[in-house]
C-alpha cells in the first residue's frame, strides 16, 4: 500500500469529519435527531452518520485511484483509515464541547447534539463507538465501491426507499387508510416512523425489484430510445391518460396536508417552468424573477379583493386574462433595459429590479394602492363564475394549479422544439453568430422575458388566491433563488427536470418541518454542488448535456479552445 493512498484517505476522512463537526455546530444534527426513521431504533441523525461514513469510505477509495481499479487489499485499509479519522475528529470535537463552553459563540450547539453523536454513552464509550463505527462504515463504503454495480445499486435503493418512505409517513399512512388498508398502515408505521418489520419488508422488496429489473434493463432502454426517436403514438397516449388520471385523483387519496404541499410545489414548478424559458432556453440569468410573481399576486389582489383601493371584487377567472396581459407588458418593460447587457450584468440588474419592485410595494409612497407593509387581505379563492368549486381547501385549489402547470409545460415543450426554441438555443450558444444568421435577438429576448413573466405572474396570481392575503415580505429575493435552484437541480432547459426539482426542493422539505431553518442552507449547497458535479442537472435535456460536456477537460485549464467551444465570449474589458 502506498503512502499517497494513505494520505489521501486521511484527507478524505478529515474533510468528512470537519463537515460533520460543522453540521453538529449549526444544530443540524440535533434537528435531524428529532426525527425517527425506525421506531425506537434508528433516529435520522444516526442515518446521517451512517451515510456520511459510507460515503467517506467510497470517496477514500475513489480519490486515490487514477487508472486501474484498486484491489480489495489496497482499498479496504483506505476506507478503514478514512472512516476512523472522521470518527476521531467528531469524537475530539465532542470532547472539546464537553470541556469548553462553546455555546457563548455557537448558539445552536446544544449539549443534546453532543449526546446524540456519542449515542448517549458518555464521551469515552461514545468516542470508541465513533472511531470503530467509522472504520467499519469506511470499510463498508470501500467494499460497496468495489462490488459490481448491481449489489451496490440494490443496497442504495433499499436504503433510500426506507428513508424516504419513513419521512413521507404522513402521505402513505393516509393513503393506505383511504384505500381501506389501515391495518397495513399500522403494520408498517408507528407514531411517525417505520416499524422494524415494515422497514425490513420494504428493504427486501426494493432490493428484489432492483434485482428483477436488472434482466429487463437493457431491452427497456433500447425500447425507450426507439420510442423517443419515433414515438409510438398509442403507447405514449395511454401513458399520458394514466398519468393524467393519477394526477386528477391524487389529492383525494393523499389527504389534505400532502395536497397542500403539492399545491405549493406546483406554484414553484410553474415559476420554474417560466424561469426555465428565460434562463434555460434563452440563457438570460434573471434573478429578479420574483418581480413577476409579485406583480401577479398584487394585480389579482387589487382586482379581486374587497379590501383593495379598487374594491372591484371581480372573479378570479374574469381578471386572469387581464393579469396575463399585464404580465407580458411587465416582462417587456423589465426586459427592455437589460437587453444589451452581458450575462452577469444582466443577473445583477434584474436582481435590482426585483428588489425595486418589492421596495415599491413596501413603501409609504404607494401606500394608497398597495397598503405597504399591511398587505392586501381577503383575496377570494379562484372559484369558477357562479360555482363554489375551486375553493381554498387544499384538495380543491390543487386543480387550478395543476391545470396551470400542465398548460405551462405543454407551451414550454412546444416552444422548445419550435423555430422560436431553436432561435433561443442559437442565441444562448453565441449571440453574435445568432444575430449574423438573421435571428432578431432583441425580439427573441423580449419574447422570452414576456413568456417567463406570464408564467411567473400566473403563479403569483394562484399564490394570492391560495393564501388569501399577501404581504410585501412574501416576495423576497429568495423566491427567485428558490426557483433558480429548482431548475438547476432538475437541469436547465429540461421540463421533467423542473417538475422533479420542484417536488424535491419545495415539496419534500414540507415533510421535514423539523429542520425548516436549514432549507436555504441546503438550497445554497445544492446550487454549488450541482454546478460543480453535474451542471446539466439530475434530469437533463439531451442538448444541454452535450453542450456542457463538450469541453470537459478539467486538467488543462489553459486550453484556449475550451472557452471558445462552449460559446464563452472572448473576454474583453478593463484591467486592473
Amino acid at each position: 500500500m502506498n503512502r499517497d493512498g494513505m494520505l489521501s484517505a486521511v484527507r478524505v476522512g478529515a474533510i468528512a469529519g470537519i463537515c460533520m463537526v460543522f453540521a453538529i455546530t449549526i444544530g443540524f444534527v440535533e434537528a435531524v435527531s428529532r426525527r425517527e426513521v425506525l421506531r425506537d431504533v434508528l433516529p435520522l441523525s444516526t442515518v446521517l452518520l451512517l451515510i456520511v461514513g459510507v460515503i467517506t469510505g467510497v470517496l477514500a477509495v475513489r480519490t486515490s485511484t487514477r487508472g486501474p481499479e484498486p484491489t480489495m487489499g489496497a482499498a479496504l485499509p483506505r476506507g478503514v483509515i478514512a472512516g476512523a479519522v472522521a470518527g476521531a475528529i467528531i469524537a475530539a470535537y465532542a470532547l472539546l464541547a464537553e470541556s469548553v463552553d462553546l455555546r457563548a459563540v455557537f448558539t445552536n450547539l446544544s449539549p443534546s447534539a453532543i449526546e446524540t453523536v456519542t449515542f448517549d454513552q458518555g464521551i469515552g464509550v461514545g468516542a470508541l463507538i465513533l472511531v470503530i463505527g467509522g472504520a467499519a462504515l469506511g470499510a463498508l463504503g470501500a467494499i460497496l465501491r468495489l462490488l459490481p454495480p448491481l449489489p451496490t445499486r440494490m443496497v442504495i435503493a433499499a436504503g433510500l426507499t426506507v428513508v424516504v418512505l419513513s419521512i413521507m409517513e404522513q402521505v402513505f399512512r393516509v393513503m393506505l387508510s383511504e384505500l381501506g388498508l389501515g391495518a397495513v398502515g399500522s403494520l408498517f408505521y408507528s407514531s411517525g416512523a417505520l416499524t422494524l418489520l415494515g422497514a425490513l419488508i420494504i428493504a427486501v422488496v426494493t432490493a428484489a425489484l432492483v434485482w428483477l429489473a436488472r434482466a429487463r434493463r437493457s431491452p427497456v432502454r433500447a425500447q425507450l430510445a426507439r420510442v423517443t426517436g419515433r414515438p409510438d403514438r398509442r403507447t405514449s397516449l395511454l401513458l399520458y391518460v394514466l398519468v393524467g388520471a393519477a394526477l386528477l385523483i391524487l389529492p383525494q387519496i393523499v389527504g389534505r396536508f400532502p395536497s397542500d404541499v403539492l399545491g405549493t410545489a406546483g406554484l414553484y414548478i410553474l415559476l420554474g417552468l417560466g424561469l426555465n424559458i428565460v434562463v434555460g432556453y434563452a440563457g438570460l440569468l434573471d434573478l429578479g424573477y420574483v418581480a413577476f410573481y409579485a406583480i401577479g399576486s398584487y394585480s389579482i389582489a387589487m382586482l379581486t379583493s374587497p379590501q383593495s383601493f379598487l374594491a372591484l371584487e371581480l372573479n378570479f377567472w374574469l381578471v386572469l386574462p387581464l393579469v396575463i396581459l399585464l404580465a407580458a407588458i411587465a416582462g417587456i418593460v423589465i426586459g427592455a433595459p437589460v437587453l444589451r447587457l452581458r450575462g452577469d450584468y444582466l443577473a445583477i440588474v434584474t436582481l435590482g429590479f426585483g428588489e425595486i419592485v418589492r421596495l415599491l410595494f413596501l413603501s409609504d409612497w404607494l401606500k394608497e394602492f398597495t397598503n405597504a407593509g399591511q398587505g392586501i387581505l381577503g383575496i377570494p379563492p379562484p372559484t369558477l363564475p357562479g360555482l363554489e368549486f375551486p375553493g381554498r381547501d387544499p384538495q380543491e385549489i390543487y386543480y387550478p394549479i395543476l391545470l396551470a402547470c400542465v398548460l405551462a409545460a405543454i407551451v414550454a415543450y412546444r416552444l422548445a422544439n419550435s423555430r422560436v426554441g431553436r432561435a433561443w438555443n442559437a442565441m444562448r450558444e453565441d449571440e453574435s453568430v445568432a444575430e449574423a444568421t438573421g435571428i432578431n435577438t432583441t425580439n427573441y429576448k423580449l419574447l422570452a422575458f414576456a413568456l417567463g413573466a406570464v408564467f411567473g405572474c400566473l403563479s403569483g396570481a394562484l399564490f394570492a388566491a391560495k393564501i388569501g392575503s399577501i404581504f410585501p415580505h412574501s416576495f423576497e429575493i429568495l423566491v427567485s433563488i428558490t426557483a433558480l435552484a429548482v431548475i438547476i437541480l432538475g437541469g436547465m432547459g429540461s421540463i421533467p427536470g423542473v417538475i422533479v426539482g420542484g417536488l424535491v426542493l419545495v415539496g419534500l422539505p414540507e415533510f421535514l418541518r423539523e429542520f425548516d431553518e436549514y432549507r436555504l442552507l441546503v438550497y445554497g449547497a445544492v446550487l454549488v454542488a450541482m454546478m460543480l458535479l453535474r451542471p446539466e442537472g439530475l434530469v437533463p435535456s439531451a442538448t444541454r448535456q452535450r453542450e456542457l460536456h463538450e469541453a470537459d477537460d478539467p486538467d488543462d485549464q489553459y486550453d484556449a479552445d475550451a472557452g471558445a467551444e462552449t460559446g464563452e465570449p472572448v473576454i474583453t474589458g478593463a484591467r486592473a
Partner: protein, 345 residues
C-alpha cells in the same frame, strides 16, 4: 457594438434622459423649497463619504477578482459579513475585559485582525472549493455557483452564530466630534474614512510596487502569457481572493462601527451596492472602485432627499436602496464600462 441606431437603443437613451431629467427637476424643486438646511446637506455628504469608504473597500474585492477571473464573486458580500460577524465576538470579549476602554487602539487592532483573517479564510476557501474547478466553464455556471455559495454562507453563519441581531460594544474613544477646518466630524466617521484611505493606499502600493502586484497585473492582462512567463497563476488567484477578503473584513468592522449592528443577512445589500460601486467606477479598475464607492455613498445619502422629496414623496429614504439599483441600471445603459473603464474593444 454595432453602432447603428436601433429602436431599442433610442428607447433606452430616451428612458435614461427622462430619468435624469426627473432627477434634475426633483433637485431643483427640493432646493427651491428649501426643505433642508446647508448643515443638513453637509452632514448627509459626510455620512455619504463614510459609507462610501466602506463600499469602496468591498468594491475593491469585486474588482480585483473580476480583473483576474472575469467573474462576479456574488458571495463577496458574505465574505464581508463573515468578518464583521465573527469580530463581534472578539469585540464583545474585549469590552468585557475592559480593554476597549483602557487601550482602544490595541483593542480595535485585535478586532480588525480577527475580522480580516476570518474574511480572508472564507474568501480563500470559497475560491478553493467553489470556483477553482469552474474557471473554464460557460459564463453562467460560476455565477450560479456564486449565488449558491452566497446563500450557503448566509445560512451557515446563521447556523453558527444564530439568527439574532448583535450589537457591537460602544467604543468610548470614538464618541464625540472632531473639528476639522471648522466642520464637526463624528470621530467614528473620521476613523472610518482614515482607515479606509490607509487600506487603499496599502493596496495601491501592493499592486504597483511589489512583485505580487506585478504578477497580479500580468495575470489580469493575459493569464496564458503570464503562465508562460513563469507566474504561478493559481497562487496569484488565491492571493487576489485573500486580498479581497482582507479588505472586506476591514470594511465589515468599519460598517459595524457606523451601524453597530451585525447579523447574518447584513452582507447582502452592501454587497450589491459595492458591486454597483465597482461597476460605476469601471469594473476591473482599482481606482474606479474607490471612486465609485465614494460616489455611490454620497449619492445614496443625498439622492433620495434631493431627487424625491421635491415631488413630495413621503418616506423618500425608504427608497434609498432603489436609488442604488437605479444608478446601476443607468450606468450600464449609458456607459457600461463605468467612469474610469476603458472602451470595450
Amino acid at each position: 457594438m454595432t453602432g447603428r441606431f436601433s429602436l431599442v437603443t433610442v428607447t433606452l437613451w430616451l428612458l435614461s434622459a427622462v430619468v435624469i431629467g426627473a432627477m434634475i427637476l426633483g433637485s431643483v424643486l427640493t432646493l427651491a423649497e428649501g426643505r433642508f438646511t446647508v448643515t443638513q446637506w453637509r452632514d448627509l455628504v459626510i455620512n455619504g463619504v463614510a459609507l462610501g469608504a466602506v463600499y469602496a473597500l468591498i468594491a475593491l474585492g469585486y474588482t480585483l477578482v473580476y480583473g483576474i477571473l472575469f467573474m462576479i464573486n456574488f458571495a463577496h458580500g458574505e465574505v464581508f459579513m463573515a468578518g464583521a460577524f465573527t469580530a463581534y465576538f472578539a469585540a464583545d470579549f474585549l469590552a468585557e475585559q475592559g480593554l476597549i476602554e483602557s487601550n482602544p487602539i490595541l483593542a480595535l487592532a485585535i478586532v480588525f485582525a480577527v475580522a480580516m483573517l476570518t474574511s480572508m479564510v472564507v474568501a480563500v476557501l470559497l475560491e478553493r472549493i467553489a470556483y477553482r474547478k469552474l474557471r473554464n466553464a460557460p459564463r453562467l455556471v460560476p455565477l450560479i455557483t456564486a449565488i449558491g455559495a452566497s446563500l450557503f454562507l448566509q445560512y451557515a453563519f446563521r447556523g453558527l452564530y444564530g439568527s439574532g441581531v448583535r450589537s457591537y460594544p460602544n467604543v468610548p474613544a470614538l464618541d464625540g466630534t472632531l473639528d476639522i477646518a471648522g466642520i464637526p466630524f463624528r470621530a467614528t466617521q473620521v476613523m472610518v474614512i482614515l482607515s479606509a484611505i490607509a487600506l487603499m493606499a496599502g493596496l495601491w502600493y501592493l499592486i504597483n510596487r511589489t512583485k505580487t502586484g506585478r504578477a497580479m497585473r500580468a495575470v489580469s492582462e493575459d493569464r496564458e502569457t503570464a503562465a508562460l512567463m513563469g507566474i504561478n497563476v493559481d497562487r496569484v488567484i488565491v492571493r487576489t481572493f485573500a486580498i479581497g477578503g482582507l479588505l472586506a473584513g476591514a470594511a465589515g468592522v468599519l460598517y459595524a462601527l457606523i451601524f453597530s449592528q451585525v447579523f447574518f443577512l447584513m452582507g447582502f445589500i452592501p454587497g450589491i451596492k459595492a458591486f454597483t460601486a465597482a461597476v460605476l467606477g469601471g469594473i476591473g479598475n482599482i481606482a474606479g472602485a474607490m471612486l465609485g464607492g465614494f460616489a455611490l455613498g454620497i449619492l445614496e445619502q443625498v439622492g433620495p432627499n434631493l431627487f424625491l422629496s421635491g415631488y413630495g414623496v413621503p418616506g423618500a429614504n425608504q427608497l434609498r436602496d432603489g436609488i442604488a439599483f437605479a444608478v446601476l441600471v443607468i450606468v450600464l445603459i449609458i456607459r457600461p464600462t463605468g467612469i474610469l473603464g476603458r472602451k470595450e474593444s
